[in-house]
């Protein structure tokens, strides 16, 4: 990626992270649509032999052979038996029955996590710079599990099974499938086995935001990643005949529109279809759009497809307006005709203009790439939100990372829009989603693994979470683009990832596989359900009190039962391990609400040596006189003056 290494502070702090053998020994496994091995992001210059103990392979298939791999891309397998059993044989004229990526998504995610350094990267001149993955010295192994018709759990499970056997250190999965109990969810089950082997599993939170309870991949042994913006934008100015200007975003590259105001029409008035405003295929009347800029409303079909529909009908430009579902979030696209996206407010005003003016006119000017946009990051509207619908006592997402307008490597088999009619071929593409934020965290986890080979997956996640930031430099909270207001831990989890701080977190909240099994006991899982997840013959001890709230998680979700009267106290126990050596940490508590009193005991933790553990208890006391509200938030921070170890707190009155 370009810009995100700088945005995350990696470019200025490269010396903090190992560049030696320990970095090249880390393997990031990516389950996705495969890889375009010829991409410069998989150049293996400077890489030595594959790490000892690596059992992966480069499987031969359609247009893919053992020689497609190298010392950077050290594994490439594909899993299609489950897909073919349901969908029939793969049509090899449409997609490669191999690890070759015909789609682009897998090449994008794998290069984001661990792509090599590529100078002179850009998409049609946009976002130009030196591209690199978050862990450019790590090795990459790809496991193709997603095909034209989707990704099937039997294939996903087979890929995880093999990735564990092969010896990956980090697994990156930018996919999800609704909300199932952990014992029914193959990603959760496979991730548990991976975690047991010391593999950190990072998954995308989903793109179902800004609705509440919209998260996927919420198992506590998974690192769940939401998406935020960068400080980069691709502005396009729209000017109308009434003299008004609006700012949008676009990645259009091509012949500019004539330097004059052009006829402008609303798609809903250029169609006989009831949903003509959406610019669905075949709904525009060519006579009404020919030679005009067309305004389409966002929703239902793909944004870039709307552009193609306008172009096919003879339109010469498009203004794509967000509706309430997307608010002011602007996602840039490499449209096939001059086009720009605008936010909901601008869209409403533009619609008013085009519908009320007898001869509306418009033009669009594309301004290229702008950096330094503030505030940034802001939480992406599409990023899925908590609370956690499976286990509300575990706060998810865990954190956010860059996921809007991310430039990374692309397939040579598809154009940047992914449309069949798009015959352009690009080495890099700019796309958005929690699919893009997840591999950022996967790569950063690989960096931490290289720096701290003995850290468990939970310790690595803890370091990433407790050092994440939830406010800007001026101490104002990170904003949510969906509302324009402050975001909450249900939107950003612990906050935005900050790898330079994560390398030296001071304290970590560690967890073992046994702790997670205790968590399953607390969920009252049956022996069979536990065995489905953990494979072991573990029997919950009937004499022991298991509590979900005692899972040693680096965040707190407190569910206040409004049906109970009287004063209620909710106790959470946590154990922190010193990874920074001796130090005395003092607690600092902050909360938005006075309805809940927070007490931490003890309030001071002293460590004499590295790896020493200390426990503390947090008591959240809700008095009966407290008026229940829906949600409120707070924060618990431990600091020794050098490190700040922060945990978000979310209160839900249920």
């Amino acid at each position: 990626t370009t810009r995100t290494p700088l945005f995350l502070g990696l470019d200025h702090n490269a010396d903090l992270f190992p560049q030696s053998d320990s970095a090249t020994d880390v393997v990031v496994g990516v389950l996705d649509t495969g890889v375009w091995p010829e991409s410069k992001s998989f150049d293996d210059s400077g890489f030595g032999p594959v790490p000892s103990g690596w059992k992966g392979a480069c499987e031969t298939g359609t247009n893919f052979s053992a020689s497609s791999c190298n010392h950077k891309l050290i594994g490439a397998r594909f899993f299609a038996r489950g897909y073919e059993a349901t969908m029939g044989p793969i049509d090899e004229s449409k997609e490669s029955k191999s690890a070759r990526d015909d789609d682009g998504h897998g090449t994008h995610t794998s290069s984001t996590a661990a792509g090599s350094i590529v100078e002179g990267a850009s998409l049609l001149g946009y976002a130009a710079g030196t591209a690199r993955g978050m862990a450019p010295r790590a090795r990459v192994a790809v496991y193709k599990v997603c095909w034209l018709g989707g990704c099937f759990s039997s294939d996903i499970l087979a890929a995880i099974d093999r990735a564990i056997e092969d010896g990956v250190n980090v697994l990156s999965m930018s996919l999800g499938g609704g909300m199932s109990d952990y014992y029914r969810d193959s990603v959760a089950i496979g991730a548990f086995a991976a975690m047991e082997k010391g593999i950190l599993v990072s998954c995308s939170a989903g793109n179902a935001g800004p609705s509440s309870f919209s998260l996927s991949n919420v198992a506590p042994w998974i690192t769940t990643v939401g998406a935020g913006t960068l400080d980069r934008d691709f502005p396009a100015q729209v000017t109308f005949g009434n003299g008004k200007n609006y700012s949008g975003v676009s990645l259009f590259k091509g012949d500019a529109l004539p330097a004059k105001l052009l006829p402008f029409v609303y798609a809903g008035n250029a169609s006989n279809a009831t949903n003509g405003n959406l610019c669905m295929t075949g709904t525009l009347i060519p006579e009404r759009v020919k030679g005009k800029i067309v305004m389409c409303d966002r929703g239902v079909n793909a944004r870039v497809q709307k552009g193609q529909v306008v172009k096919d009908a003879g339109g010469i430009g498009m203004i794509l307006a967000n509706t309430a579902a997307n608010g002011e979030e602007l996602v840039a696209d490499a449209h096939l005709l001059p086009a720009t996206a605008v936010g909901e407010k601008s869209g409403d005003e533009i619609r008013e203009y085009v519908l009320t003016n007898p001869n509306p006119t418009a033009t669009i000017v594309f301004e290229g790439t702008v950096v330094g946009i503030q505030p940034s990051p802001v939480v992406a509207a599409f990023s899925s939100r908590g609370p956690n619908s499976i286990t509300p006592e575990i706060l998810k997402p865990d954190l956010i990372a860059p996921g809007v307008n991310i430039l990374a490597a692309w397939t040579g088999e598809a154009g940047p829009t992914g449309l069949a009619a798009d015959e352009r071929r690009v080495g890099f593409n700019i796309i958005s989603g929690t699919s893009m934020s997840c591999p950022h965290v996967s790569g950063l986890a690989a960096l931490l693994k290289a720096a701290h080979p003995d850290w468990s997956p939970a310790a690595i996640r803890s370091a990433l979470m407790t050092t994440a930031y939830s406010s800007y430099k001026d101490q104002k909270p990170i904003l949510d683009v969906a509302t324009g207001k402050s975001s909450t831990p249900f939107d950003h989890g612990a906050g935005h990832v900050s790898p330079v701080n994560a390398i030296n977190p001071g304290l970590v909240y560690d967890l073992s596989a046994e702790d997670y099994i205790g968590f399953l006991c607390a969920l009252k899982y049956t022996a069979s359900q536990i065995k489905s997840v953990a494979r072991s013959n573990f029997t919950c001890d009937p004499s022991k009190t298991y509590s979900v709230t005692d899972l040693n998680y680096p965040s707190f979700a407190v569910n206040i039962d409004t049906t109970r009267s009287g004063t209620r106290a909710y106790k959470y126990t946590r154990t922190v391990t010193s990874v920074g050596g001796a130090g005395t940490y003092r607690v600092k508590i902050s909360s938005e609400t006075t309805a809940v009193k927070i007490a931490v005991e003890p309030a001071v933790l002293s460590f004499k040596e590295v790896n020493e553990k200390q426990s503390y208890t947090v008591t959240f006391t809700v008095s009966s006189s407290s008026a229940p509200t829906s949600n409120s938030f707070g924060r618990i921070e431990w600091s020794d003056g050098k490190h700040v170890v922060g945990s978000p707190v979310a209160f839900s009155w249920t």
Binding site: D32, T33, F79, R81, G82, A85, T86, H105, C146, G150, C151, F152, S153, S154, I156, L157, A158, I160, D161, R162, I164, E165, S174, L175, G176, G177, G178, S180, Y183, R184, D185, S186, V187, I189, G190, A193, A194, K197, S204, A205, G206, N207, G433, T434, S435, C438, S528, Q529, K531, S532, R535, N537
Partner: protein, 87 residues
């Protein structure tokens, strides 16, 4: 749920097995999986056997076969396959 000729449609299931309950008569767990599958279906084939992510296998079964397999010794669960999507 049925094909045009009245046969029940097959779907993919992921079968979780308790490897500790494998009878001593089997040399390898894959033989035990195959035998368990054969006990409910003559024609079903193993799609994958899993060794690390879970203990078990995936296969194509009719709903009746899946229900029957659920009751076999050593079978923990028989779960229908789910479709996931890219984010």
């Amino acid at each position: 749920a049925a094909t045009g000729d009245g046969r029940q449609r097959r779907a993919t299931y992921i079968v979780h097995m308790a490897r500790s309950q494998m009878p001593a008569s089997f040399d390898h767990h894959s033989h035990w999986y195959d035998s368990s599958l054969r006990s409910v279906s003559d024609s079903a084939e193993l799609l994958y056997t899993y060794d690390n992510a879970i203990h078990g296998f995936s296969t194509r079964l009719t709903p009746e076969e899946a229900e029957s397999l659920t009751g076999q010794p050593g079978v923990i669960s028989v779960l229908p396959e789910l479709r996931y999507e890219l984010h």
